[in-house]
């Protein structure tokens, strides 16, 4: 059945697949992870702040995001962001938002929910004596978080955060519902155009597999290197 396969189609489309598709995928992954980390930290701090209302709001947000399929969130966001933008700015028409911006905002918000739970566990893993010692030295709450708790928590959770980022890397392929040419979207386009579905999807799978595997191996190496000796 493999007689009529034409793997040369891959070679011919390599520049398009990687320069356009993969660079988009990596950019979306990187920016989403970064934004998710910032907002995830904020949400985690809200949940741990001891202010009931803040904690409740953050908790609801996390539960909400984690209860929806990602692909639906991407879809809804694409349609809703223009109207939210209109409402926020008071413009006469819905704000035009590019597919990239829309998907980036979606991933940041979605990942923030997952990252915040990882951060929360990481922060809670630091024994209470550490912030107590920091307070006893006169450090304020924010100084104690910044210099004592978060740096330690971060080392503890970095492997989990990176593993979640690898999952995110695979999840970005869901932007195909917005017809964005990410790596999978690009492969899909070539596949449809040239009628080479089997070749292109096999190749796409292999690429995702190799990148994720190498990254996972890297995370394990890193984990061994950065662990704090206690």
């Amino acid at each position: 059945m493999f007689d009529n396969l034409d793997f040369d189609v891959i070679r011919r489309s390599l520049p398009y697949l990687f320069l356009d598709g993969m660079s988009f995928t990596l950019m979306l992954t990187g920016l989403s992870a970064l934004g998710g980390l910032v907002f995830g930290t904020l949400i985690a701090l809200m949940r741990l702040s001891g202010y009931k209302l803040l904690g409740r709001v953050a908790g609801l947000y996390v539960d909400f995001m984690r209860s929806l399929p990602l692909v639906l969130v991407i879809f809804w966001f694409y349609f809703l962001v223009p109207y939210i933008g209109q409402w926020l700015t008071g413009a006469a028409r819905p704000i035009r938002v590019g597919a990239f911006t829309s998907s980036l905002v979606t991933f940041i918000m979605f990942e923030a929910a997952y990252f915040s739970e990882i951060m929360r566990a990481g922060i809670q893993s630091i024994s209470k004596g550490q912030p107590a010692a920091a307070s006893a030295l006169g450090l304020t709450y924010s100084q104690s978080m910044r210099y004592i708790v978060l740096p330690q928590a971060f080392r503890n959770m970095l492997p989990v955060l990176l593993t979640q980022t690898i999952v995110l890397f695979q999840d970005t392929s869901l932007v195909y519902v917005l017809s964005i040419p990410d790596f999978l979207g690009a492969a899909s386009k070539v596949a449809q155009r040239d009628g080479r579905l089997v070749e292109m999807y096999l190749f796409a799978a292999a690429v995702y597999f190799v990148i994720s595997c190498v990254a996972s191996y890297g995370v394990r190496r890193l984990q061994a290197r950065i662990a704090i000796v206690r």
Binding site: A132, A136, L137
Partner: protein, 243 residues
């Protein structure tokens, strides 16, 4: 220097950990707090620098009311050194960084100034060679000496010790106590929760005995060891001194 008056503290609605505790520590005085576990002695000492809140009574530290909501707590805490049972060095920082962090971030000292002070104190506790190691590379006794140096680096007006030797192996206890004895001889105001009665009889001016959240006995050292008035203190002493 430290005035504790009628302090009451509850955990939850019904469990009272501190019952009408009143005592004081004068400038230059060394006060040892002892008592069976669960008697509230650690809780009391943590109330002094507001690491633990309390519901009733007041504590005045060098003229500043600790439980006044308007008090700038970080500023107040920076002036009192505290040493913990489990050392609580910052494991991600080198020894010298442990000593410098609060000097720079809280007191606003320059890095060079903080380093000089840190080196001096490390020398004082005999750990200069370990300046660039991480806490986990040191023994328990060494870590606790670093913790004392870290507290001293802030030029505290008083030092609080919360069972500083009870997490240590026996052979390391004396190296920590030696540092504390030196401190006491230099006239540092100290409040020390400990079971080390040898330390108490050597340097303490007064001994406070607590049981079930109450200060049962608050006496001069000689009176306490000579003839404790309360039966509970007598029992406690006979138990820990019998071996």
């Amino acid at each position: 220097m430290i005035e504790i008056s009628h302090v009451n503290k509850w955990y939850g609605p019904s469990f009272q950990v501190l019952k009408d505790c009143t005592t004081s520590v004068a400038k230059g005085e060394v006060v040892v707090v002892c008592g069976p576990s669960g008697s509230g002695k650690s809780t009391l000492i943590k109330c002094v620098n507001a690491l633990e809140p309390f519901q009733e009574g007041q504590i005045i530290l060098d003229g500043i009311k600790v439980n006044d909501p308007k008090t700038d707590l970080p500023k107040l805490r920076a002036r009192v050194g505290m040493v913990f049972q489990h050392f609580e060095l910052f494991p991600h920082l080198r020894i010298i960084e442990n000593l410098c962090l609060a000097q720079e971030k809280v007191l606003g000292r320059s890095h060079d100034e903080a380093m000089a002070k840190g080196q001096k104190l490390l020398e004082r506790v005999g750990l200069t060679v370990h300046a660039n190691k991480y806490p986990a590379e040191l023994s328990g006794g060494q870590q606790q000496r670093v913790a004392i140096a870290r507290a001293l680096a802030m030029d505290p007006i008083a030092m609080l010790f919360d069972e500083p030797t009870s997490a240590l192996d026996p052979e390391m206890i004396s190296e920590v106590l030696d540092v504390m004895v030196d401190l006491a001889h230099e006239g540092m105001t100290m409040m020390v929760v400990t079971h080390e009665m040898g330390f108490a009889s050597k340097v303490a001016h007064r001994v406070i005995f607590m049981d079930k959240g109450e200060i049962v006995e608050d006496a001069l050292k000689t009176d306490f060891f000579g003839s404790p008035r309360s039966e509970r203190a007598q029992k406690f002493l006979s138990k820990i001194l019998s071996h």
